[in-house]
């Protein structure tokens, strides 16, 4: 197993997640669109904490800021925190059944969204609509599917 192998898979999935994030959708679907990039970062920080880790989260966050952040660095901080949580608890999360993983992911996404919420307020771009919390729920719901898809992108053993 070469060290660069998971990195390539990571780059591919990050690009995929970014495309899913930017794809125009009908507005009712738009509101519940989960944070695909956040799920991807969380997955990689749990599955391959050494290869990607916090740096991956930070870079993905900057990418997201480039596209949709009101202030540069906002998503970078939030995604770095998400990656840190994933890296720190990766062994505990990995050993859990997928349903419990979803619950943990939900908690992590709520923390992530709260950081964004707080930073939005502090930087003067408050967004107080309760709709902003919906993606955390949908993100947790599609976690099993997302994890299965992401697992196909990289096989460490073969």
């Amino acid at each position: 197993m070469s060290a660069s192998s998971p990195r390539i898979a990571m780059a591919k999935t990050v690009v995929g997640a970014l495309i899913l994030t930017l794809l125009p959708l009908p507005s009712w679907l738009e509101v519940i669109r989960p944070g695909f990039l956040a799920l991807t970062v969380l997955y990689w920080s749990i599955q391959a904490p050494r290869a990607g880790g916090i740096a991956l989260g930070w870079i993905c966050g900057l990418l997201l800021d480039a596209f949709e952040g009101p202030v540069l660095g906002e998503h970078a901080l939030a995604l770095a925190l998400l990656a840190y949580l994933g890296v720190r608890e990766h062994q505990r999360i990995r050993s859990k059944p997928i349903f419990q993983q979803s619950l943990i992911v939900f908690a992590a996404l709520v923390i992530y969204e709260f950081v964004l919420f707080a930073l939005d307020g502090w930087t003067g771009h408050p967004l107080t609509t309760p709709l902003r919390w919906l993606p955390t729920l949908t993100g947790a719901l599609i976690w099993p599917a997302a994890a299965a898809v992401l697992a196909r992108s990289y096989h460490p053993r073969t």
């Binding site: 970014l18 495309i19 994030t21 930017l22 794809l23 125009p24 959708l25 507005s27 738009e30 509101v31 669109r33 904490p49 050494r50 880790g53 916090i54 740096a55 989260g57 930070w58 966050g61 480039a66 596209f67 949709e68 009101p70 202030v71 540069l72 660095g73 906002e74 970078a76 901080l77 770095a80 925190l81 990656a83 840190y84 890296v87 720190r88 608890e89 990766h90 062994q91 505990r92 930073l119 930087t123 003067g124 771009h125 408050p126 967004l127 107080t128 609509t129 709709l131 902003r132």
Partner: protein, 345 residues
């Protein structure tokens, strides 16, 4: 170190220390970037480069939808095309009839007619811009247009469609620009009620068919159906452009402020093309020029300075009457300054 150990107790040692340490580094970097971007506007150049680099990705992402639209359009049946043709022709006829009256009406009434004929003389140049079909942020009302600084687009430029005000440009790249719509929660637009001339501010609600007027007192003269036009304050739009129609007025005897909602004229959700407008700055109706995010309200160097501001003007104190009270108000400082200014010469 114990606090930053990984879940199993096995320290996850990679390059650059424990995860906690690395997170702290990245967090500090993020906060530094945020402060530079927010407080000092240092990252204007970075935004320009980011717009340039992200634009190809955005075009690529939007291409399937655009292609699908194109396919659908090219297979549109003849009947549909004929019907649309007929509709457009009748609309054109209506616009022509109304633009005949335009010659006779006052300019502020004419601003309600239609895009090309609505342009008052204050508009110097206009440029159609396509909306790139991607989602920037689901809850913030932002769109990306396919014109940038290569086309002369600058920051805080007015964007209209054929019905009314759409928004203004925010981050400008070489080939693209991000437009903040008037319905974005972070956008506030100075408006005027056309019927009464009462000025207020229309704030976005985050919903693309609703604007809020949160600063009207409960006894303000406003009714459902009132037309809001730009007031010319704020430095982006000249006065008189149609913005929205009041849809809801709720006055509560207990509340000091009225609860007013208005529906924008511009088709913010269905527009695929908007107009960028350049204004003639020497026109009296032109918006005030904006510099570095702040309105210029006079000479910035003029400040109520406490101490000797201009000692050079002291040599002839008795001639000007207005200068005399100032001297008496601060006799010690003024004389000391005068003495200080005189002694070297």
């Amino acid at each position: 170190m114990a606090g930053f150990a990984t879940g199993s107790g096995r320290p996850l040692q990679g390059r650059g220390g424990s995860p906690g340490f690395r997170f702290a580094l990245f967090a500090i970097a993020s906060v530094a970037i945020m402060i530079l971007d927010q407080r000092f506007n240092w990252l204007e150049r970075a935004h320009y480069l980011l717009q340039a680099t992200t634009y190809p990705v955005e075009i690529a992402v939007s291409s399937p939808v655009t292609a699908w639209d194109w396919v659908r359009k090219s297979f549109a049946s003849r009947d549909v095309l004929e019907a649309r043709n007929e509709r457009l022709r009748s609309r054109l006829r209506g616009l022509e009839v109304r633009s005949m009256r335009y010659e006779a009406l006052a300019r502020e009434n004419a601003a309600l007619i239609g895009l090309r004929s609505a342009l008052p003389p204050v508009a110097q140049r206009w440029l159609p811009a396509g909306i790139v079909n991607i989602q920037l942020d689901s809850l913030r009302q932002r769109v990306l247009i396919d014109r940038g600084s290569e086309n002369g687009v600058t920051r805080s430029q007015a964007v209209l469609d054929d019905r009314g005000v759409v928004g203004q440009t925010m981050y400008v790249g070489p080939w693209s620009a991000e437009v903040i719509l008037i319905t974005d929660p972070a956008h506030a637009l100075p408006v005027e009620i056309q019927r009464t001339g009462l000025r207020t501010i229309a704030v976005g609600t985050g919903n693309s068919n609703s604007l809020a007027l949160p600063y009207l007192p409960a006894n303000a003269d406003i009714r459902v159906g009132d037309v809001l036009v730009t007031s010319g304050l704020g430095g982006v739009f000249p006065p008189g452009y149609p913005v929205a129609r009041v849809t809801q007025v709720h006055k509560d005897a207990v509340q000091p402020l009225a609860h007013v909602r208005a529906a924008p004229f511009a088709h913010l959700q269905t527009d695929s093309e908007v107009m960028l407008i350049w204004f003639r700055h020497d026109s009296p109706a032109a918006p005030l020029k904006e510099r570095n995010g702040e309105l210029i309200t006079g000479d910035r160097s003029i400040r109520p300075l406490p101490a000797p501001a201009k000692p050079v003007q002291r040599p002839a104190p008795p001639k000007t009457l207005s200068a005399a009270p100032k001297v008496s108000a601060r006799p010690g400082a003024g004389k000391a300054a005068a003495a200080g200014a005189k002694s070297p010469t």
